[in-house]
Assembly symmetry: D3
Homo-oligomer: 144 residues x 6
């Protein structure tokens, strides 16, 4: 008999600068679209990232996955690229992406999903920008 | 190709008084049902409200929805009616409703759902009454 | 040689209704003074109370004071009188007191100070009304 | 017409010691598997437990379930057995279970599910071990 | 008889970009001094600001100071200048100041102290940059 | 002119097991003194440690002290010795110390104070054992 399916969440953290600015449009139109988030000299946030995986615990370890290994994957694929960086300028995998929380979350999913071991699935990426705003993503097959 | 479906959450806050008291019953029976929450002179809480919508980010803005607009809708439809109010007495849309967290959450859903733009759906209302108690509602079609 | 002097803090919690309203004045003047806090039908809060005492740890127990006993004192002197109560109406020791956080804090100090054992001193009462507002009191001898 | 289906969450708390150590293996192999969590002299955590139930609010009370009763069930079935205990040694219902968060969560589900009244269903057990790690369980029928 | 002296704290919030970079030195030396905080393309934070004032509550209002007025002063003197700004570039009162948390805190004190009414004193500025780091300032007369 | 004196706080964290048990006394008397904290098989906590230093910011860096260096000192002197350890058994500097929060805090002060650079002073050690209990220590010269 198989062990049951569980959801395991690991937190990571990064501090970054960004601005919301679509280069297709004028400064004025960007201010209409994004308000003070369009400030051309940037602003920034402490981002809290929660990565949730899904799987069955091993009978040997009681773990769905060794969280020390998940921590290293998140660190290598996400945190070193985003922490103390400018999300519009410094991040190869966000090139040509408008760094809204929505778009960052999708990019993080795409970085992490192929790196997980086969016996687990990536279930959710949850990114908290401020106490007031956050975005969750459950992968490309989510129906509307 | 469409952008993926994401879940975006905005927090709001209100401080309110209420009591749990069913006028069909005696004071004694209300105390049996509701314990100290039945205190006839009211008590109150700091309520944290999390509103989650679902949709696809715009390619122009990276936003599922402009959260400044969502903030205004939550403010106009919910917060101005509940903040620094008595939930049993002061709120037209809670008239004849026993203001348990459960019933408040359903009333908030019913206020917000018709006000959202067509390209997003209301996904969840989460209302936190204390660090120990909260209620989530995913709309009238939720199966048991 | 004596053990060193330490500060020990215990948290308590109560949910209560109140309004800020000075009966010497008209409704209109109360609204000028207190804004939406003057709502005649009350509003309420989750109050977090932090009580800090000062003393030397016992060599027998390592404790400045047994916190189970401090918890009972706070419960008996403060929490049972304020939790799920109306601070303007239900509380004998707040009779004729305008229940601002400031005045509640002083009243709590006056309840607790005489109940502590002789080997400790009450150091601070800290009452948090919302994430945005709190008041601290260090006793009647605090200089301006 | 039935009232809608809602999800109600109650928090509980316990402080416990454990170690992650599989007695089938050597001390060295346990250290490979579990790192510092294998320390033979134990370590411990403050565990936050969130129990979510699902049901329709009563028209009489506005409650899906009286949370005072749910609190007592959680206290009797879980907290008294785990609080200030050693999860490897002191807990009959964790005997022969490697006390990873995953395995504790399943054991808590199995304790609580049969104790709930018929008109509600246990929906989720969420156990937070540290600010960085948590596990959620939605019951034995969860598909992978 | 005078009312007692109390300490009242109001929270504010701003999201900002900055870098730690002393223009007197080379890029290499800045990286030695500031590590990843020296990233020339900026990074950013959610800053939580706690402003504590000291005074005696009014007998008329129970308030040391009307917090709605304190909120407006903090908003006008600090938040509008720092929120969604670049602390190295956009802020006249931080011109030629290396925007470490230490230096920001002193600048905020200097903005707020002269704006408070005569019956209160500014007691403390506490600025939290991340969950791990914060700075407190009690004014220019603090002894070492 | 000297820069002003500021207080800088750095957070650290450790998860540990302990029991409160005075070997001079019987098991029964220990249970009277310490209640469930005397469980002979241990219990444990997530401890949050806040270390506050005092000093004047450097004109070169804006820092009272490089927090990366403070982090390393706290890590080397405290965290590696306490994290995932048994505070009664595994810690040389707590040998023969009853590991109450009070006594741990004093031991941490005594480890850190001699390791700080001369231009700063250790100001406070704040150790949070649970959301309900914490202890602060300002050094051996604190008057009662």
């Amino acid at each position: 008999m198989q062990t049951p399916v569980l959801f395991v969440t690991r937190r990571a953290h990064f501090n970054a600068a960004h601005k919301l600015f679509n280069p297709k449009y004028s400064k004025e139109h960007n201010e209409e679209l994004f308000g003070k988030c369009a400030n051309e000299n940037w602003h920034g946030h402490n981002f809290d990232l929660y990565v949730t995986i899904k799987g069955r615990p091993s009978e040997d370890t009681g773990f769905v996955m060794d969280l020390k290994k998940l921590k290293v994957i998140i660190e290598d694929e996400v945190v070193v690229h985003l922490d103390h960086k400018n999300l519009n300028v410094d991040v190869p995998f966000l090139k040509d992406v408008l760094p809204s929380v929505e778009n960052i979350v999708v990019a993080i999913w795409n970085r992490l999903a192929p790196r997980l071991p086969e016996h687990v699935k990536l279930h959710k990426i949850h990114l908290i920008e401020t106490i007031n705003n956050s975005v969750e993503y459950y992968g490309p097959d989510t129906p509307f």
